[in-house]
Symmetry: D3
Subunit: 252 residues, 6 copies
């Protein structure tokens, strides 16, 4: 039995509020337990200099935490004058993961910027950001798709992410902060709707782990991600069908 | 008649949600029309080096906008590696204004940091931040007051802020973004519960203004601030009485 | 009676030395009491990227203090690697104030940069900078006007600035450093030759102020600014007449 | 058959030159094919402030590439004024991996800094850095162990790292730069001498991967790491026996 | 005959105005031809951390140019966020040169900071800074000497500096900007009152130079420095005698 | 007799390994005693903006030390976020010295960047960098010369550098670190193959020096540089003849 009463293979309550802010082309507030992240998708009709003239788009992400998203206040990175290593690592991961399900050719010479701003952090902020940013991105892409009459819907599959770890010798799904700080092994997994891996990051700084433990954690993650995608499909409604269409075509 | 149907002397709908996030000692979501700001108050049991050993506390503020709080996405200041002039100006104003109603001696050697993070910006973000941060600060100060059995309640009066400006030749209260960008004169006023001025900042870059116009804008501001303080008192409940107590004592 | 023997409504001795350095298109050394500022105006035949192709000019200002302009040496901002909040606030104010009396259309696609370098600081450095920079700017604009045969003289009115504050309960004009550090209310006012306000910045961090006090301070400022403009007109000579001409035309 | 004639399950020629520079407590030049990295271990008799007084040591790593380690010259990070995201990500990985086999208690209040400077980059610079830094660290730790008569040898197991990826549909071990830039899946694995995982980082940005592919890549990595550790043991000689001793004790 | 009518072995008109600003412990305006530099000496009763507890003092220098000290406006280093290489090189030179004539033991645990701010630049700003800073330093050191009753006067000899170069094939003393930009060889020399060299920096980027040319330039420099020291002695008056006393004692 | 047994007029053992790394157009490892520097020359087919369209090339240099090139580990400049003054001074010197023997017109609109990375520092790193960078540059220039069929070989003469100083009252050539830290006078000299000076930098911070001492140090340097050039010619082989050709033509 876990701290918050969950069983080992259960994710925390998941809520996705769409159109949380009004200016962004896509915007959600995602809540996984007490972790809350605002994800917005912004569209620009141009690509970074190194991609100009290739007819392809780009997807990038930025991640930040409000100073008091955590138990103890953190100094703002804008005040320190630079992004920390953890922030860079996370935003590179988010961008890479999202790009894996975008057909950059179909997107055309446009840049999507996904901003993931954590307003409350209780573990799993990077996986929650990916799951939420996917929804914001899908909404923004749908607007482009409709306004510009794109030939193909540029999102090729669903994408969600969850953490898993070994807590008190027990493989557990979706760790909260308290569990995370006690975990011996810590894993973040990103998967597509087709059940394939996009990212696997497993760390055993406190104690290395075996092939067996790895397999158990991956199995838990697969369960959690399936549940998350159901919720994504509900809130996306007809947009989900467009993604499904492309994914099915690819699977054949 | 104004763009959004308001009369010249009316503020926009005001909502203050307390305890919006769970870790901060004080936390509110304040909404003034479509402008939305998360204000948190964090307490540290120490003061900056230059104040050490004087037995007095300190109050400081930081202000930031999410990149897509606005119609067009702004680059993060953490990415640019420095705070912009506008940000610095605003956070200096917020800190100065809040300190004017705090008895730093009564607070003791503690630092209050007020973080004002704008999640949606539709004009008046700095005045909204002050009005919201006051409530978050009062909540945090009340916790200190009770936990440490302070002799006097360290907040000496109410404090709120509103903007006013001349739009199409007409003095108007609480401008939204569209009005603000057309205004010839732009004024931000901060007042105490006793009806005194803490800050007056009036700018006539587009066109200078007369003593008459100044007086009309100050009168509007006074009305708006009174309405805002009523709402502050409602959400603060018994804490408001403690502030009232100190303010009355001082007025005698 | 004040520390330096002045009456409450008197400014300190004012001296403006034109052509203080030889390369700048306009250059003055302004001395208000013991406060000394070098103001230079530099002309570039281009505007910042965001204004290109609109046929309008731009005016901007930078402000700095020599490290030992003050009683205790300050670290250079170039050494710290960034501008402080106070510096940014002041240079934004100077630029905004100067632009209010420049017809950017008449100026054409040119940038005027006003550098205000304080070599000795005894209170009122920002107001002194504005008063001095106006003269340097007028000299530079006059050169452009003559060299390029502009149709209209691009400066539309005079501009000067002074501080006022409440010291020992007494409203006083043009505070020196010692008075300033004791003042309960501190006000900086910028006015045009037509007697209108361009900027009003009043701060009562130590103690809030009433409408009455505000009115007294504004009245003092108006007197001080009138005296300063007389001196500006003397040193500008025939250039003053060109400004006067435009201002009169506008007043009709 | 691969570009350089290797079979899929072979690592490139591996060479480890110890005492490559003379001042560091541990220093190696490691060459994996054409990838060359100087790894030095520096010892300081103090720990970072956040660890003071706990009686435990710290291990940290820094990673950098000479500007012309690559086909096209890269700008120095010192010139840009900040570390890039890739650098931060890699040096965090190296530090985390090394700490997993250090008994920080046995090390005592000392800091080991591992500098990994890539002088030629032909793929696998981060895995090569880990394998080389382990040797440099062991040499430095051995000096401390002997000089300070530590009770236990502070390194608890061997550690090495290798990459694997799917190139032209074929799982391959230890990719060089040309293979790496064509790989659909890219994986970096760090393992201990006991055959457990310390880090698994798999990325399928170009194309997601299946559980099957994952298993094949992990099997290849295990082979490569075993070969690397043999070489580490040869160059470490008697120091290897001390590590072996601690690892065996732990395995029982 | 040179551009400004001088003969090859003549320095430009030299003027040193002492007590140019009022707060610094030593302060001069030095003018060498059209080059004008404000030099101030600031005293702090402490030394940098690396020198603490050794009973010795420290002398350091900072150098800067006002943005419009030159024909074309330069961007402020504070705005660029870092010191340029030229600035660093010059301020290291000034500090090194001044320290060569200070008895740091006799100075005691104090830091002298020499600020050299160029308000007009017409060649030779670094050599003019050294000559001027020496006077400001002597004034500040004299105050310490008197206030703290030091046993020995801490300045051991005079110090001045001048440039020389080969212009149109002709060795010339004290180049102005126009000459400097045409010079094939450019040399900056710092000498003591005893006629010894403290710094020789000769650069032949445009064209290398012979031993003969070197000797001619050194001979010119010696003449120029002798003239400059006469002026230093005049403005220092009785302080000059104290320096002379120490220098004579050392020469014996 | 010196610490390492050398006579006063002898340089340390000199070794130049060409093609030390494989990607750069020119690359050497230069060793002067225990000082080891990797010098690479990179070619870009463009010049900096300020030189565009003039048909001339550019040569620039960057200098860095690995953190543990020295007895005590130095913090990386990339971590501190800026280049130190010493680094800037040295890389400006290297660039200036190299440009003095390059015919920028003959080079055409290309940039040569010389990276000098010190992997072990035992005195004389800047002079060693110049001597080594000259060889790397010659190799890169030779490639351009052959690939683009340039009319003239763009290197006009040989160039090498050495240090000299007064140690224990004795003028000595090519100081190692231990000697350097005891030297009263420290001199770095750069000369051409024609025996002319390109740079002379002499510093007597600890104690000023006489014309006599200067002459002795210059004579020593001339000897050392001659020996170094012999070694440069050996490793450059036929390239040396091309340089010789241009130098002889110029001497006539």
């Amino acid at each position: 039995m876990r701290i918050d009463g969950r069983e080992a293979d259960r994710i925390r309550p998941l809520s996705i509020t769409t159109s949380f802010t009004k200016y962004a082309e896509g915007s959600v507030l995602i809540e996984v337990g007490e972790t809350k992240v605002i994800c917005t998708a912004s569209v620009e009709e141009r690509v970074p200099p190194f991609m100009k003239g290739q007819g392809r788009g780009w997807v990038t992400a930025e991640y930040s935490m409000l100073p008091r998203a955590t138990q103890v206040r953190n100094q703002r990175e804008a005040v320190r004058g630079k992004l920390g290593g953890r922030t860079m690592e996370i935003q590179r991961l988010i961008g890479r993961a999202l790009r894996s399900v975008v057909d950059l050719q179909a997107l055309g010479e446009r840049t999507l910027t996904l901003d993931c701003d954590v307003i409350q952090a209780d573990g799993g902020t990077r996986t929650t950001s990916i799951t939420g940013a996917f929804v914001a991105m899908a909404m923004a892409v749908n607007k482009i798709y409709e306004q510009h009459n794109l030939k193909a819907f540029p999102i090729t599959d669903f994408l969600a992410s969850v953490s898993a770890g070994v807590v008190n010798g027990q493989p557990c799904l979706d760790l909260n902060y308290e569990e995370d700080s006690k975990a011996k092994v810590d894993m973040n997994i990103v998967m597509t709707g087709s059940g394939q891996f996009v990212e696997i990051q497993g760390t055993g700084e406190e104690s290395p782990f075996s092939r067996d433990e790895l397999n158990q954690l991956l199995a838990l993650a697969e369960q959690g991600i399936t549940q998350m995608m159901e919720r994504q499909k509900e809130v996306l409604g007809p947009i989900a069908e467009r993604i499904e269409g492309r994914a099915n075509a690819a699977r054949k």
